[in-house]
């Protein structure tokens, strides 16, 4: 028998084997006591002396190859785990377990963002949703009859006390700074309310995360450093950032912060309005007037503050295009997060 012929046929032969029994048959056929390899070995003495050495090596190589093939096949038969005749489980059937519930995407984003800031040394503080005009406006350097208030349309409560539903989380700045002395590093998540007509991008209730840091010698460059670290943690290391001058009554200088569009990587697409940039938060150095309102000396302490819309971040991260989905509580929506 020609060894080369045998070598050529074993590959095809073993490929077609699908059971352990078949494999055993194959083993006996080649490596058994009376198998082909044994026969070949037995034929060595019949050969001319000068051929014996080379032939012996070839038989050895065949033997090694067969052992190797059989070992591999054994492994693959064990791995495949398809329905076995021996009464083992069919693992194609569904697994048995309790279905796990899902946390709301807004909760998940809040947790993630708060965790990032907590790792940097910020504490999480929450405040009431019903506020007074002082904490929501006046204390934050927003005069009551001034156009700067127009962006903060506000729900008021009936009754003589002029109570309102906070239109941003910034009143918690006032509450914390009135009670505690610097150094302060705080993040504030929570619900906020504005009487906006509801559509795909507006909701009369949404969530914000506010943050502020107050200490001696806090600089604008620190604001940039902290927010860049934050944006990289949330959106990835490659994200680019830019700070644009803006106006907020409670900060000076004020900046809006854009990140390079996470969809098109800055090339311009429908999500970023072809600009390549997405606005994600507002920030700035806390205005000296705010410090004066809470009795902190602006000559001694400086600080920065920032605020962002949680739904907006969630929409960007998860590719959600309608803010109303967050509050419909459709299980088909919730179960995707």
């Amino acid at each position: 028998m020609d060894i080369n012929e045998i070598l050529a046929q074993v590959d095809a032969e073993i490929r077609d084997i699908g059971t352990r029994e078949g494999l055993e048959e194959f083993r006996v056929k080649y490596l058994g006591r009376k198998g082909i390899v044994a026969q070949l070995t037995g034929s060595i003495p019949t050969l001319p002396v000068e051929e014996r050495g080379r032939f012996g090596q070839q038989v050895n190589a065949l033997k090694n190859k067969l052992s190797c093939l059989i070992r591999e096949k054994e492994k693959s038969l064990a791995d495949s785990g398809t329905k076995a005749a021996s009464g083992e489980e069919d693992l194609g059937m569904p697994g048995i377990a309790q279905e796990l519930g899902h946390l709301h995407p807004v909760t998940q984003i809040i947790t993630r963002i708060c965790d990032i800031f907590m790792r940097m040394g910020f504490a999480v503080v929450e405040g009431p949703e019903i506020e007074n005009e002082y904490n929501n406006f006046t204390g934050l350097n927003i005069p009551l009859e001034h156009p700067s208030r127009d962006v903060f349309d506000t729900f008021y409560l009936k009754g003589g006390e002029k109570l309102l539903l906070r239109s941003h989380t910034s009143p918690v700045q006032i509450r914390v700074m009135q009670k505690q002395k610097p150094p302060l590093a705080v993040v504030v998540p929570g619900r906020v309310y504005r009487p906006d007509a509801v559509d795909a991008s507006h909701s009369f209730m949404f969530h914000q995360i506010e943050g502020f840091l107050v200490d001696k010698g806090i600089r604008f460059s620190d604001l940039k450093g902290i927010l860049e670290a934050f944006a990289r943690a949330v959106f990835g290391e490659e994200i680019k950032m830019r700070f644009r001058p803006h106006f907020f009554p409670f900060t000076e200088p004020s900046a809006e912060v854009d990140i390079s569009c996470i969809i098109c990587k800055g090339k311009g697409c429908s999500v970023c309005g072809r600009k390549g940039w997405l606005e994600i938060l507002g920030s700035g150095m806390i205005h000296p007037n705010v410090f004066k309102h809470v009795g902190i000396d602006p000559e001694v302490y400086t600080g920065f503050a920032f605020g962002m819309g949680v739904e907006r971040i969630a929409m960007l991260k998860y590719g959600i295009n309608d803010i109303r989905l967050f509050f419909e509580n459709d299980l088909r929506f919730l179960k995707q997060f």
């Binding site: 009431p128 700067s148 590093a185 840091l213 200088p253 900046a255 400086t302 299980l331 088909r332």
Partner: protein, 703 residues
Amino acid sequence: MKFTYNWLKDFVEIKITPEELAHKLTMAGLEVTSLKAESGDFVFEAEVTSNRPDWLSIIGIAHEVAALTGRRLKKQQPQGLKAAKSGQKPVSIRIEDKKDCPLYTAKIIREAMVGPSPDWLRKRLELIGCRSINNVVDITNYILFTYGEPLHAFDLDKIVLQFYSSKALQLGKESRGPLEILVRRAEEKEEIVTIDGVKRVLDKDILLIASRTKEPKNQRTIEQSMPVAIAGVMGGKDTEVTAATKNILLEAAIFNPVTVRRSRQRSGLSTDSSYRFERGVDTDTVLAASSAAAGLILKLCGGKLALARSAGMSLQKKRGIDLDTCRLNGALGAKIPSLKIRKILESLGFKVKAKGKDSFSVTVPSQRQDVLSEIDLVEEVARIYGFENIPTSDPALAAQLKDNRTRDLVAQVRETLAGLGLNEAITYSLVDRESLAGFSGETTLEILNPLSQDQEVLRPTLALSLAKAISFNLNQKQEYVNLFEVANLFLSASGKPREELYLGIALCGTRELFLEQGLVREEAGLLHLKGIIETLFCRLGVKGHSFKAGRGPAALDIYVGDKHIGRMLKLPADLKARLDIKNKEAFLLEISLERLFGFAPTEKRLTPLPKYPGITRDISFILKEDIAVEEVLGAVRDQAKPLLAQVRIADYYKGKQIPGGFRGLTLSCIYRSPERTLTEAEVAPLQAAISALLTERFGARIR
């Protein structure tokens, strides 16, 4: 604010492309939101923040462009206007309250030809979305956008005529005296028809321009005056400039921002004019704008300038601010050289005088009313220097070791419930009052200015919102709805609003469980709610809870110790019908997390493991359905204490082998002593006593 490339180029040389200009402006704080090529020009639309009214004018933006590109503003030709002498009776101006109107100027132009505007003027206005009316009105608008100073042109003859045609006065034409322009508050219920043709009923918050004439015969001023415009907001229809107009009264004034704001809010009229007055108009610009407008009218419409009058003060005190460049760099974390700082401020029109090595005295130009203190100058320098050129740094932050207990516990609640398969919902805190009926009897806090019925009150319960979420999901063809929410409820405690953190859970429908024996369908019920909440109590380490019958047939109050912490219920049929929940039962739970967390131990303590093994004995029996198992368990515990360490229901069955009205129960009893290993002989009599108790006292049949 819309503006065009060519319009800007009238005032400043621009050597960069419109796209580059848009980018530079955006990065300096004037965010260009759109840029379009149109009719040989480029139209920019920019978001002007409320602190920069100077950017509501072409000249103001040109200032910025000059600073950003290192150019100077082009010099404008002075108008050199002179009023011609005329025999006409003069016009006088009277301002009732200088606080409402610090400055009022009027120019009279006689024999102007009102007609269509020249093409260049019409095109410019149309490019920025302003409709062309006639040359005089277009000129006032053109000057408004160029200078940021709102102007108004009246038909002078109609002011006078309107006055005499009013029914209040019946005077002969020959007796007309000189005209007086009066700036005053409206009377209650006074009326005016504005240019948009709407009759508006006024009140005392609204500032008016009115006219009256002095009666020459007996030197008596007629007290009554007729309104001709809502000051700073919109002119009157009766006195507008039309094709028939010959003589024009051109108004340029300063009105108090708060006064205009109130007038605008009261009249519900927001105009380009009110928008600028509310944000503050530069007093120095008033005269320049008025002269420029008059000059342009004379040029384009002909006529003669007959009179220029003004009342009130125009001069604003120039403010000087000290700036320390070390402090500036300290606030920014930057190293901007003093020379550079000076150059930036000067390019923006500030006058800078050196005071010391690192300090300047800076005079603010009149159009920059927003710059009040040193920090405002810091922002100006940072803006033009470029935020992108300021380095980043990491502030040293102290570790925060204080934990936020409520937040941590809420996180545990959320994770536990999600682990039990529940999905977290977030529903609106505002609801409509009518739907609330039947869900809560609490006094609600009402919203003064809801946009819709859905926002009338702050919710005192989560039940309504969660029931609505059930209904929504059933409509989406969901078979099983299991939701929870953690949110503040809003309660009224003796008139004072109070917020309390609550947990709400909603279950409805049939759950499908794929088990080894195949698909098992299980309908949600109160026992599921009980299981969920007990698992949560266990997770939080809360001990000693109980359920007591509450109001309503399938409602239970939840207690920890003797403190009421919440309730659970099966939604009654009428409420289900109202929310369109059909063919399924809905179950709701709400508990106060604030109260619950008071029972969650901050520390855990180990109970020592039993030293001696226990003996477990089960007992199965059939019990009448109307006997409460709680009572049975209590009796069993009493009977076999103290060796009975634990008794629990190990199985429960109903079915063919159990007679109707009965149920089968298996109790699992564990006997244990802390002192020794119990023997069978000790346990057997106790187990027998329990059997006897069950049969004798509860009529049970042992199986």
